[in-house]
Amino acid sequence: MEVPFDISYVFEYAVKLLPYIRISLLIVAGSLIVGLGVGFLAALPRLYRIPVLQSLSKLYASFFRGTPILIQLFLFYYGLPEVLKLQGIDLSRVPVLVFVIATYGLNVGAYISEGIRSAVTSVDRGQIEAAYAVGMNGLQAFRRIVLPQALAIAIPIFANVTIGTLKDTSLAFTLGVMELTSKARSLGLLAQHFMEAYIGLAIIYLMISLLLERAFQFIERRMLRHEQPISSSKQARSFKLWQKRRPAPDASLNKGGQ
């Protein structure tokens, strides 16, 4: 540890890390796609109160939100193939990345199902009544009135989940995936410049997180165009220090956050 800190390594390492962003983003994108599908399916039984399925969906969400992602990774990578082998399906040589994406996907799905559920319930009931009153049926009301508004409300949740998953990818190295963190570790090891390697790593993560956050804010603003009053004179009477804007309470410490 007596190797002195050398800032030039930080930049060197940061540059060397850049190509590995691809793997991390691949995991994030893959698990979001899986998670959106699974999350939506898991949300439906609870929105429509379908007996049995509703409890299963609750159990699913509870497990994936109730255990550390690190443990989930181990269980799925090593356990799932064994379970399926009994059914005669051999997954032992399926690439590790597939397992990683599947596990993160299921994890993301649990959070997304909760997000969708709360977003749908937060669309005010009067809107649905108005839809019925103009003669729409349940499906029309859901598709045309509830869903578009729920999606807009859910954007901050998706943003949190996405950024949370990005940070969680730092654990994929335990299964031997050569992503950002793994690469930083081996870089640091080589010249004993751990500090520099991890600062470089932090900078890269920060950059991606900020970019993702901006992107989501942009989408949210577009989707919530309809909530932006033109003339804000009357509402804008804000207590000097007590500004109206509420930060989205952040779930991403819970969403792994590691």
């Binding site: 540890m1 007596e2 064994e82 051999d90 032992s92 040589r93 090891l189 080589l190």
Partner: protein, 246 residues
């Protein structure tokens, strides 16, 4: 779980890490290399029927679990043979190195230490599932848990730091690992080797393909010993010839 492709060449997945300098690590160009790795590559050259491919894992527990679950076919990670491991796993027969477990302490530590009896009540840094852990656990079993075990997860590569700053008192290391984990020479070994074990490759037990492979590898290793390739590799990566027993 291994599969033959058309040419009759069998593909073998070898578990390794990238966290073990000089043995299994990434060089400046990001290429996996080191003593164990280059050894497997040499074996690969000499065994036309097999094709070896590396799978990087983070630490021994993951490697063992991966071997159990057919995700890999063998482990090349300076695995020392001991009775406990022998019971559950298959080893090949020809060692490619010898591992002498030595008590390793800080350089300025002048306590008279010969055997584990001299370090009762001290803290030892060790890794779960390592052969050093086994030695210490065996000792503890007979001596009323006299040594306090501190487990590292393999995440933080700072054994030398922890011993030299006195966070832990000592650790069990092989003579040849020392320069690798302690490039700045903060540690020294003391006393006589507590045990000497053979370093071998690890395979699944009760697996006929694994047995065939182990036998084939033994044959090649024997050849390499005889033509000097093995000791050359050892000198190249580990600085000395560690491939013969005392």
């Amino acid at each position: 779980g291994t599969k033959k492709n058309e040419g009759g060449v069998q593909k073998i997945i070898v578990g390794a890490t990238n966290q073990f300098p000089q043995v299994s690590f990434l060089d400046k160009d990001g290429k996996l290399t080191g003593y164990d790795i280059e050894l497997v590559r040499e074996i690969d050259k000499r065994l036309p029927n097999y094709e070896f491919e590396f799978k990087i894992l983070d630490a021994l527990p993951s490697m063992l679990l991966s071997l159990d679950t057919n995700k890999i076919d063998m482990i090349a990670h300076e695995i020392a043979k001991n009775p406990e491991r022998d019971e559950k796993y298959l080893f090949n027969k020809v060692p490619y190195a010898y591992w002498k477990n030595m008590i390793t302490v800080a350089k300025d530590n002048n306590d008279p230490i010969e055997t584990l009896d001299d370090v009762k009540g001290k803290k030892f840094l060790t890794h779960a599932s390592s052969s050093a852990e086994q030695v210490l656990k065996n000792y503890n079993k007979d001596h009323d848990n006299a040594i306090e075990l501190v487990y590292a997860s393999g995440d933080v590569f700072d054994i030398a730091e922890q011993i030299s700053t006195g966070r832990v008192y000592a650790s069990l290391q092989s003579d040849f690992v020392l320069p690798v984990i302690d490039p700045q020479g903060k540690l020294k070994t003391v006393g006589k080797p507590l045990s000497q074990s053979e370093i071998l490759f690890l395979f699944r037990k009760n697996d006929s393909e694994g047995q065939t492979l182990a036998d084939a590898i033994d044959k090649v290793l024997q050849e390499m010993k005889e033509d000097g390739t093995l000791s050359a590799l050892s000198k190249q990566w580990l600085g000395q010839d560690f491939t013969t027993a005392d």
